[in-house]
């Protein structure tokens, strides 16, 4: 019953979010503001996670396939495929669900409990469209860039860790990352990331928008937003993988 209630309310919420905007000029301005807040300001954390992620994948792969009949370049190949197919899109999305999702839910939730949303509604403005559409479009727009950045930094991290630790030579690693390259892996990863961005922005906004109470409830909504977004990311990861790769 609770699940059906939330699904129904989420669907109606999305209908309002995607209703015709009040003024396109203001919407565009807000999209860029949100893209900066949710996307550009996350570059640091994405870079740090990616470099360590790439390094660890490379080292783990190298230690696991330390056999004479497996060529060394396989380390680069496995690291590349792991990063491209899974880690850059899913891990970065999970991190952003924590950082961006809690930010969105607490911002919208605070606006709800301090009657700022009521103030917008009273003016005759569709508050969900005005506040949330720019966040959704901003994050969906920025996510592919963050994922591409993560891929580049992740592979660089792997290359650095591999060559500095001596588990794989620079030449072998670079040969590996160029070997049997499938451009579709990038498309697949970017499609996934865009869907995840949509889920993070809408689910977090939904939890913030319907907060009732005070600051305690805003905190609870923020936590719920992160948990639900993360679970949905994992669920849709499975669905999209089956749809796009099977």
């Amino acid at each position: 019953m609770g699940l059906l209630f939330h699904l129904g309310r989420y669907a109606l919420f999305l209908k309002r979010v995607f209703a015709r905007p009040e003024k396109c000029k203001i919407l565009i301005k807000q999209i860029f503001r949100e893209a900066e807040k949710l996307g550009t300001n996350s570059i640091g954390i994405v870079a740090i996670i990616s470099v360590f992620m790439g390094a660890v994948i490379t080292l783990q792969t190298a230690y696991n396939i330390e056999m004479p009949f497996i060529p060394k370049y396989t380390v680069g190949l496995a690291a590349r495929d792991s990063i491209l197919l899974e880690f850059s899109s899913t891990i970065v999305s999970l991190i952003l669900a924590g950082k961006g999702g809690s930010n969105i839910a607490s911002e919208i939730g605070s606006m709800r409990v301090t009657e700022q949303i009521d103030a917008i509604e009273i003016m005759g403005i569709n508050s969900s469209g005005y506040l949330i559409l720019p966040k959704v479009l901003g994050l969906v727009f920025m996510m592919p860039f963050l994922v591409i950045l993560s891929m580049g930094i992740g592979i660089t991290g792997g290359w650095l860790a591999g060559s500095l630790s001596g588990v794989v030579s620079s030449v072998d690693f670079i040969y590996g990352i160029r070997y049997a390259f499938q451009p579709f892996y990038i498309t697949y990863s970017l499609v996934k990331a865009s869907v995840f961005a949509f889920l993070i922005a809408t689910i977090s906004s939904y939890h913030g928008y319907y907060v009732e109470g005070g600051s305690l409830e805003v905190g609870i909504a923020s936590t719920k937003a992160v948990v639900v977004s993360s679970i949905q990311i994992l669920l849709f990861n499975l669905l999209l993988t089956q749809l796009l790769l099977a």
Partner: protein, 250 residues
Amino acid sequence: MIEVVNVNKTFHSKQILFDISARFEAGQTNLIIGQSGHGKTVLLKSIVGLHTIDSGQIIYGNEVFSAMDFKEQRNIRKEIGMLFQGSALFDSLSVEENVRFPLDMFSDMCNEEKLDRVNFCLNRVNLENVNKLYPSEISGGMQKRVAIARAIALNPKYLFCDEPNSGLDPKTAIVIDNLIYEITKEYGITTIINTHDMNSVMAIGEKIIYIHQGKKLWEGDKEDIFTATEQSLNDFVFASELFKRIKQKS
């Protein structure tokens, strides 16, 4: 003019408003008074359309506002200004951007005209040199004045104030009351104020309706209140020793 006709409202199977009817005239300060939790804010939010009423009518001028959907209500909503209990200024916007917000959304003014209007509204509420400050950087009284400036930016026909004096010291509260009163007279606005501040009632109560447990029990002006026979109203208004002495003297 705003008219409320036989309004009923229920929340989670608990009835909050019982058959309330009232008429609020233009160019005067109309006060809704009553204890906390007795339905004042629900009535105010029902009048502005933030709550959907179960039965009855909310009429703005000659138009039945409560029968319209969100899109149809837009034209009337553009003529509404509202001052919330906690000011409800947008935290992420500066004072200037807050006052400018309704102009950006609904007017076709150029940037210069908007800035002139913003400065005019801020001057009208006696605020200067605060344009670039954020709500968190100004006092509660100043926030209320910025909220009034935002509410009057589009020359509204209707002004709603929910507990405009809450959290303010008595002197600042009088400043806010006077400001609301002056603006109401100056622009001929239909103003409805929710309050339980007796100083406001005595200072600007041109028309007062008293709500008790969701029912309208009394209606009159600030002079009539001294001769009212409604017991719960007397218990509420003359709760303090000071007001009891005032009543005895009158």
